[in-house]
Symmetry: none
Subunit: 398 residues, 2 copies
DNA sequence: GTCCTTTGTGAATCCTCAA
DNA sequence: GTTGAGGATTCACAAAGGA
């Protein structure tokens, strides 16, 4: 999973191609979606166009991760307001809400369904929202067959206070992490996250400051370019936890381009869709200015699960353990004989290091590598240490 | 917010009336709901019966606050064991099983609609849920015309870990606070909450321990009476923030009776509906044993103030350390690369600041915070100093 | 009685690959 | 698709037990 310098250079040069201007959807008029193979997918580009129309052009099962920050406030979205919104009195309020919700739901269902089509089977989707919209998004997502893995709470370090003092300070937003189907194949860098968190599992509540200061995009007049620019730290945690270097990250509501900028910095590929030319241009400039961090700093960490398997027999064949030696558990309660074929013998029972380990304890299963110990140079070692030794000496060959 | 002694005494004497036993619904056969005025509403009682049927008997606009802890529809499959092979006691009760989302939605819509009818116009509703159900509950609640005031995150101090390391620790549950209509007339004790929170506005993320120890109801055999008993601190914050002494609190899924017990302790009236006779009896005993308390004691209780934990990753996210930088130990014998995910790399090894620190010295453990140094402005600092800096700028991190 | 160690447990949608 | 074996995996508390 090492990312070479050549690869990074390749990413950079590709970005340079689109740096000349936005890739407007109008530039691709004659390409029907069904004829576009995944290999043709143009990457590291910002598409200026309608979210739904552009999603429909993307090939199926071509994207590793979707990050979506859809509109929260129905009233402010031109496409979602009723034409005759002008006079709504209190009596009509419920109907108005129902109409708005129905429209919002239809819109949500449409883009979530397209994202599900575009996602690879082992990909995943993240959506962020507030209480205004996240319940609808979450329910629709479940209805469409997505499988929720976690809901994550982004706890804001410095939220806007509630000026009227009529509610609790709205100090968090919610993210939903889901796979397109109920699948066990998804990316999650458990050990890396744990390593960065004082060796404790990363929890579902994340404490991250708002996007402020230099990170916040401003226009020439010093006004913020986008009203809800997300902090890069939030996106970084999303991408680092659930994607790999080189993965394709799609953002159907790119906005100020946080997801694309972080994707570039962390060695991921991106596709961003944005309808507003002002946002799209700002995002493009931001992406152009973003510099990838040292590839060593985001290269996939070796996870135990992904280490190559080693048969216990291989240790015997490599001379690290001799047939006839005895293994013991930590407390020296059980003692087993190493046989030449890589099995253990404990009394009359013969089986794998795991089976005999489980049997000796009366448990349904056991990791023999971390259960059995052997004596070497007057010290006791888990046989897992010898496995590590074996892997080290055989890594060069591979 | 002060609860007067006279008022508490009055509540007590009323409760004595129903202390003789459970008020079974069968005891009220001849009273059609429409003929029952609000003034006749029998209070401080636990109704043994079906949630929907009993809600339908209650008069309209008679309740100040609803607290509902409905089934979550967890959809668990198979068994789960801890790394030590012990069995995880899952919530596999029949009451949590639904055939489909559609069935769960119909049930949810029915009880939420009845609660809306029963609520006074200036009343409010609280629902608690997890990602399994809360999105559906929230969307249906909006569809019915409820108006959401806040979503609240209950951050668990001591959640169950994710034993297989396949997801983020599910460390929170979500509460929704809503009024039956879009109304400005609802109860919110802003100042009282602020006073109990170091004069800071109470945020939407609440840090409260699970219900354990003596508070957890046990049967004669020492087994927990109810699988999902909620902590009284959670209910206390709900009731103190959004109800007044003397208010009527309705809980359609009473379970172990936390809401009723806290209501009695805080001088509120209650109506609890519970279908399971075992739960209902336990709740009744619990309520009988509950004595009015000083609200301040509750408000002060929950958050044990220790130094908030800071992840090394947070320093990177905050820009205090950049991915790709190098850390060195005091004597410059070892040099490690800071990775974007908050882990360190030393040669082929990747791990936490502590793990890599220990590895570099050949020791079993190491405090990475005081072992690793970094250069800043020509001077060398322990990374612990940067942690201090982070804590200073982010007080709310706990 | 005090201190230290061991054990138990909580609303959980909790593995992965080869044959 | 299914089956079977390999082997990876836990945090904060509280209560009980032992020295």
């Amino acid at each position: 999973m090492e990312v070479s310098r050549a690869r990074i250079a390749g990413v950079n040069s590709r970005i340079k191609v689109v740096r000349t201007g936005l890739t407007a959807s109008a530039a691709l008029p004659g390409s029907p979606p069904d004829q576009r193979a995944a290999s043709e997918l143009a990457l590291d580009r910002i598409i200026l166009g309608d979210c739904l129309a552009e999603l429909q052009r993307l090939p199926s099962q071509s994207v590793d991760l979707v990050f979506a920050d859809p509109p929260y406030n129905l009233q402010l979205e031109g496409a979602l307001t009723r034409p005759d919104h002008s006079h709504v009195d209190a009596v009509d309020d419920d109907w108005d809400k129902f109409d708005s919700f129905a429209e919002y739901d239809a819109f949500t269902r449409a883009w979530l369904a397209e994202c599900r089509r575009v996602l690879k089977p082992d990909g995943a989707l993240w959506v962020i929202g507030s209480y205004h919209n996240v319940f609808r998004v979450g329910a629709i997502l479940q209805d469409l067959g997505y499988w929720i893995l976690n809901d994550i709470v982004w706890r804001k370090a410095n939220p806007m206070p509630n000026f009227r003092g009529r509610r609790f300070t709205n100090a968090h937003e919610t993210l939903i992490w889901a796979t397109p189907t109920r699948s066990k194949r998804y990316t999650f860098h458990y050990e890396a996250l744990k390593g960065g968190n004082d060796d404790l599992q990363m929890r579902s509540d994340w404490f991250i400051p708002l996007c402020t200061g230099d990170e916040r995009l401003k226009d020439a007049g010093g006004r913020k370019v986008h009203p809800t620019q997300k902090p890069e730290a939030l996106l970084a945690r999303v991408l680092l936890s659930s994607s790999n270097p080189g993965d394709v990250v799609l953002d159907p509501f790119l906005g100020s381009g946080t997801s694309a900028a972080v994707a570039k910095k962390l060695g991921r590929r991106f596709i961003g869709i944005e309808r507003d030319p002002v946002y799209a241009r700002a995002a493009q400039q931001r992406v152009d200015a973003a510099a990838p961090v040292d590839p060593q700093a985001f290269a996939a960490a070796p996870a135990k699960r992904s280490e190559p398997r080693v048969a216990f027999l291989s240790l015997i064949e490599a001379g690290l353990i001799a047939p006839g030696e005895m293994l013991e558990d930590e407390r020296r309660r059980h003692k087993a004989l190493v046989r030449a074929d890589g099995t253990l013998q404990l009394g009359p029972a013969v089986g794998s290091i795991h089976k005999i380990g489980a049997l000796s304890q009366g448990l349904p299963s056991c990791n023999g590598w971390t259960y059995w110990m052997i004596e070497r140079n007057g010290q006791r070692l888990h046989i897992d240490a010898l496995r590590g030794e074996y892997r080290q000496t055989h890594r060069a060959a591979a």
